[in-house]
Assembly symmetry: C2
Homo-oligomer: 412 residues x 2
Amino acid sequence: MSGSIGRADCAARDATDPLARVRDRFVIPEGVIYLDGNSLGALPVQTAARVVAAVEAEWGQGLISSWTDAGWMEAPLRVGAKIARLIGAEENEVVVAESTSVCLFKLVSAALTMQPGRSVLLTEEENFHTDLYIAAAAARQCGASIRVVPRQALRDALDGDVAVQLLTHVDYRTGFMHDLAELSAAAHDVGALAVWDLSHSAGAVPLSVTPDGADMATGCGYKYLNGGPGAPAFMYVRSALHTEMRNPLPGWLGHAEPFAFERGYRPAAGMASMLSGTPPILQLAALEAGVDLWNEVSMTAARRKSIALTDLFIALVEDRCADAGFSLASPRDPTRRGSQVSLRHLQGYGIVRALVDRGVIGDFRALDICRFGFAPLYLRYVDVWDAVDRLRAVMHSGAHRDSRFAERAAVT
Amino acid sequence: MSGSIGRADCAARDATDPLARVRDRFVIPEGVIYLDGNSLGALPVQTAARVVAAVEAEWGQGLISSWTDAGWMEAPLRVGAKIARLIGAEENEVVVAESTSVCLFKLVSAALTMQPGRSVLLTEEENFHTDLYIAAAAARQCGASIRVVPRQALRDALDGDVAVQLLTHVDYRTGFMHDLAELSAAAHDVGALAVWDLSHSAGAVPLSVTPDGADMATGCGYKYLNGGPGAPAFMYVRSALHTEMRNPLPGWLGHAEPFAFERGYRPAAGMASMLSGTPPILQLAALEAGVDLWNEVSMTAARRKSIALTDLFIALVEDRCADAGFSLASPRDPTRRGSQVSLRHLQGYGIVRALVDRGVIGDFRALDICRFGFAPLYLRYVDVWDAVDRLRAVMHSGAHRDSRFAERAAVT
């Protein structure tokens, strides 16, 4: 009944996995197979102590002096520099600020403003929704318009009117991964700026944003960077654009001399000018703890394991759930796939809920997508085997057709 | 040498102070007299456990399910409703979002957009700097201009061109407090919207923003609300304006159905529509713990003590440091003063630094302001006496003229 890969084979791979020990650096609840690190990354063991230190020692005892003595003031740039190494940027090209939505608004507005005489923001229909909403709002406020096309029409839609091309590198729904270098070059060919959302890329796939030609980018802190719920996002801007860029939300923290309390705004040099208000110090402490885990792991090794895990999942589903009605929504070619696998199924909502009941946490995305993220830092090969085994059990038992799942409500 | 008030008198007042026990709800470092709660409020005792629960139980064990099971999704509105009670708004009129700077940008942009045919944002020169920067940027993006006038010229500058009047209720530098009701009415008289920055008011002075006619307001979470470093700010919008207001940064969380993942933006009803990205859950947990302390304290009692503390400080300084060259920068009339006292002195920087060396934490604001905040929840009358005693010792010894303080650097 089972195919050529058995659970013992998976256990053997875990035994020789060079990243196996990294799992111990995370809190994984007993009995849970967590395939949703692409939505909210798991808690690193070291994070709680770091947050408690920020609360009890830095805030409680250091009080206001911690802005200087505990490095709070530099936290957005310090954590930004650490993320820069992960995404292949220069250390001075990244800063941590607000939510991805707010960061995206700032970048898109700044990019449009740098392109006088061009009035179109180009993006694709499959982009994440907040990106579409924010891009449309920023374009409207900059007197530009938004051109939303199907993915296969992107190249033809690039013309001399395009000021900014905004794309999400890895599709949140299917895991499809764009060629960042190729599409950045295509944007440059018509004089457009290439702006990227790296929410499903940072900490998931190797990136070289500066050499690959990205002009600006933002990305999420709470997915593969394991920065915790509501972790702030990062902003990247290629250094060649630093003198020209202008923060559309110029607050005191982005001023050249925040404590001079001048009446007129003078932007700080570099990425500091993209800051606005007081940084969220507790979230930054948690994010830094998550990002610091990458000091112990190479992105190349993580990517190698991520591909092995996702390939294994696809092979096991196709072998062991062959007649269950699934179709693969993700690219089969791992070089075009992020760190997730999405399966289409008309009863997808019930399937995901039934799996949750059995300790396998994935998520459902309308209309028919069962989405499974494979964070290589804390998932084992046997987890993949067990997840598919439970999926097979659900499909055989019909548990996904339970009346509790009849109403397709939103799942988190 | 000392005047009519002695330390024993202060101790006697503490002994009968109905708020005395509230001090035990805060962590106050040994030997510190903390007169900077107007910059960063002290740590409530209950906060660390709340943050640890959010990290270890909710994130670590609950993982993604905590968005629903731990009330993360509702946190911005839930904490907003608690702040609403503190500022005299309806519970559905307040939400917690990003930094004060970002919240102010959203409100000012929304307000300007609601006033077609009017093109001026009126504010005063003494407004906080980030408010001036953000207001100017929002006005520019809305095709409006900013009119910045001296405080005494505000009334004359209100004319039919004014779309929005933006004022900070309590002046960060001097503690001067505007009459919110009177100035809101003046704005309404010419058809302008009244937008307020309550950063130095919320948790410091009684507010009735809805009955007093404020149209919109924002305020800081980390000063008198004791929400911790980088706590998110709140936004208030009068309910009558809810259907008309539009969030200029429309992200997924402000969508009518965030999990429907629709390509077009449809705003949520009410204040939820002013949200943009994923809320900072750890900061919200800390902020909620700080705000919850107000369940035990009436704002009327807090204000009574705040006035007593600031009156006492002024009397003691004028009595015991009479020849030291100080002049009062704050209003002498307590009904026109927030919860701080500012003293002007040409050697102000050295004085504040010398006091810090002696455990009295205030702050310096250029050019010559020594600023002392009096948070009534955790300060005692003897703290005021001891602070002035140390100030007197500094002035008598000349410690503030130490060469270490010669260079007037920024202080936090």
